[in-house]
Amino acid sequence: MTDFKCPECGYVFSEDAGDEHEGYPPGTSFQSLPDDYVCPDCSVRYKEDFEQI
């Protein structure tokens, strides 16, 4: 399980924790997020912009 960080605003998508508010349960892989996923906090970085941390 890995964390992925938005390079613009620092939002972290944790595969372990998921993101309950956004409707992604714990254990959601980053890969499985929709192709048009954008950072839920700043909306200006796309899925492919996220950095694995």
Binding site: Y11, H21, G23, Y24, P40, S43, V44
Partner: protein
Amino acid sequence: MYALEDGHKKTIIAWHESTGDHAMKGYTAALPSGEAIHYIDRKRWFWLLSVFYPLQPFLGIWLHAETGNQAWLLFPLFTGYVVAPILDMILGEDKNNPPEEVVPQLDADFYYRLLTYAVVPLHFVTLIGAAWWAGTQDLSWWAFLGLAVVAGIASGLGINTGHELGHKKSRLERWLAKIVLAVPVYGHFWIEHNRGHHRDVSTPEDPASARMGESIYRFAIREIPGAFLRAWAIEKERLERRGKSAWSTDNQILQSMSLSAVVQLGLLIAFGWKMIPFLVVHNIFGWWQLTSANYIEHYGLLRLKDENGKFERCQPHHSWNSNHIFSNLVLFHLERHSDHHAHPLRRYQSLRHFEDLPSLPNGYFGSYLLAYVPWLWYWVMDKKLLALPHVNGDLDKINIDPRRKEMIYRKYGSPELSGPAGQQ
């Protein structure tokens, strides 16, 4: 402005010259070179203007009460659309930026945050106060409607307050955004703007980005329903992922709208049927403030698609800016819009000016006046749009209203500048 105090310490003044006022709070940080800098935000206390500016309807009410002349109720229209543009012209622009080294301290300074919190209840007070006056005084129809317009404009400023708050990560600020957006009945804005507009800005897909050749009136018809539908779709999708109905109590649009219903029904019960026309006019003019801002903020600007078919990331040249100091001080720096779109979470006190950005001819209020006269707006702005360095006369790099495309290509297109499309 930089002024060396001594060999080791540098004082950076944020606004015009130093007055030697050492009572102002300063921030000290180290430059990468090891040199210490001391920064004073000269605009610190002036940000209070953003807190008090929405109280203007009370100025009209007070003058009416003092003189008995109902025309004073319209006075905020004069301050907003005559005084503010003139002050912007006279006071001019402020191009100073806080040094990056002190931005973390500036962002952490609770004072700036407190101002955005403080203005939230004032928006409710303004609406209720104006409704009370409209509901209890014997006003002519024009003064009654004028007061509703003035109150609506003040509540439209509440969308600006909600905008600043809604971009932050803290639960408190997000909740305050939803609460203040209840005043102009624009609870969907928080989702629409953050998740929709910022994602799609300056693309033909964005209902909140105006196209070249599109008048503000046609834009409003596309923007107001388009923004609501996009917000609803985004929220519905989120709730579906959580296995909930769009009509659940977790729907963030409905949370804010419920508060709007409580406030507006309360006013109806308190002041009777007169509140129906008052609130309709108030709400429409509140929304109109946002429409006006959206219209001028991205007019004609276009993000191009990259090799993967996705729009390029939003760059500073995808927003129109204004550095005019007065209107920035009453709008929590909203007019430094390029930095806002490039870095949406950046706090208002830290937003920066950059050279060579698309620049509006006046602050927002003066620019709104231009926009309300479409031919004048096109006459001023179309030339500016075509002259932008990244456009350089190329119509293929502009977001053009499809209905006006042929006319615009005929007027401005030339085969060598705009490629095959220019020959249509």
